[in-house]
Amino acid sequence: MKRIIFLPWLVLTAVLLTVSGCAGNRMYAWGNYDETLYAHYKNPQDQGKNLENLKVLLTEAETTGGGKVPPGLYAEYGMALYEAGQTDEAVKYFGKEKEKWPESAVIMDKMIRNARQQKEIQKNRTTQETGPAPEPGGQKQ
């Protein structure tokens, strides 16, 4: 008899312990950020997929996540845009990271510089009209 009353409480306590003790409430809306990063390392060629994944994470963080965009996410999205050759958009997101997280200023300034240089290279190539699509990442390896 006693066990029947006792058991639900035990379950509830165990659930609370697990949730509060380990996961806790998160400060930021991460979504599956770590899985996205891992997928990108496993399959670095698929830049389109990475860009798409990061866009979903960012949109979710800004909307359903209540604007709790985690540190690094604007920058990672900017990086994916940069790799896709969308340099203007990339500069915008590097700027957002810097604005939200002043600690990132040194590397975001560097990335903004890189993106602008990349844009110049793209411009020069398109004026030549003939050559293949520009290699977005610049020199690789």
């Binding site: 165990a14 770590d34 985690p70 920058a75 990271e97 390896q141």
Partner: protein
């Protein structure tokens, strides 16, 4: 209603609650507090084992728990690219390069070095058991000194969390072993190791950073 599955569930949760949150150890945080870092640069993980995917699994799981401790974490993928631009494509090279150089390159307040010391998978009949050991070190950018160090050992097996035994556990083991064989996913392992290592103050972790509500509310001094 059959109460047996509930009992198994409870014991799994109880185990998770206890094991997921490691035991407390006293550490000296004088250097840590005097440097008072706002940001942590997570550099690529050095892998001293033969498990080729271990470093990627690990690197991708580090940002979340550190940011949740209240620090700015540099975007690891951007960091990877900038290091490559600087001729530091290999993680061992990054780890052996001058801490101050890394600090200046990124404008960081501190650097987190992680190396995977051990990753042994044992394929048993019903389960896969992985024995892992990780070494975490944070160095400060004001002095280059070690601010925090922790060696995390763990035996990971998604199945050994019951302890209650019985047919329910056995079924769970079979299902779980089949899943593990189909696609070994070490994301939970990496997350669990980090959770254990960064747990604070009831664990071996380090004090909260400026973005955390716990910042400067450090119980270690009053304890």
């Amino acid at each position: 209603m059959n109460r047996k599955p509930v009992a198994v569930f409870v014991s799994i949760l109880a185990f998770l609650a206890v094991s997921g949150c490691a035991t407390a150890t006293k550490k000296d945080f004088t250097a840590f507090k005097s440097e008072d870092p706002r940001s942590i640069l997570v550099i690529p993980v050095v892998n001293k084992t033969v498990e080729v995917n271990a470093a990627d699994y690990f690197l991708s799981t580090l940002s979340i728990p550190i940011a949740e401790r209240g620090y700015y974490v540099f975007p690891v993928d951007v960091v990877k690219h900038l290091l490559e631009d600087d001729g530091l494509a290999d993680s061992a090279m990054v780890h052996s390069s001058d801490t101050m150089k890394l600090c200046n390159l990124f404008g960081a307040d501190s650097v987190l070095y992680v190396s995977i010391e051990r990753w042994d998978s044992q394929y048993l009949i019903l389960t896969t058991q992985v024995t892992v050991a990780f070494d975490y070190t944070i160095k400060g950018c004001k002095t280059g000194d070690i601010l925090w160090n922790h060696k995390q050992n763990m035996v990971y097996s998604p199945q050994n969390q019951g302890g209650g035994g019985g047919i329910g556990t056995l079924v769970a083991m079979v299902v779980s072993a089949a899943m593990t064989k189909a696609a070994p996913n070490y994301m939970p392992l990496s997350r669990q190791a980090n959770d254990m290592a960064f747990k604070y103050p009831d664990g071996p972790g380090f004090p909260a950073g400026p973005y955390s509500p716990d910042y400067l509310k450090d119980p270690t001094t009053s304890r």
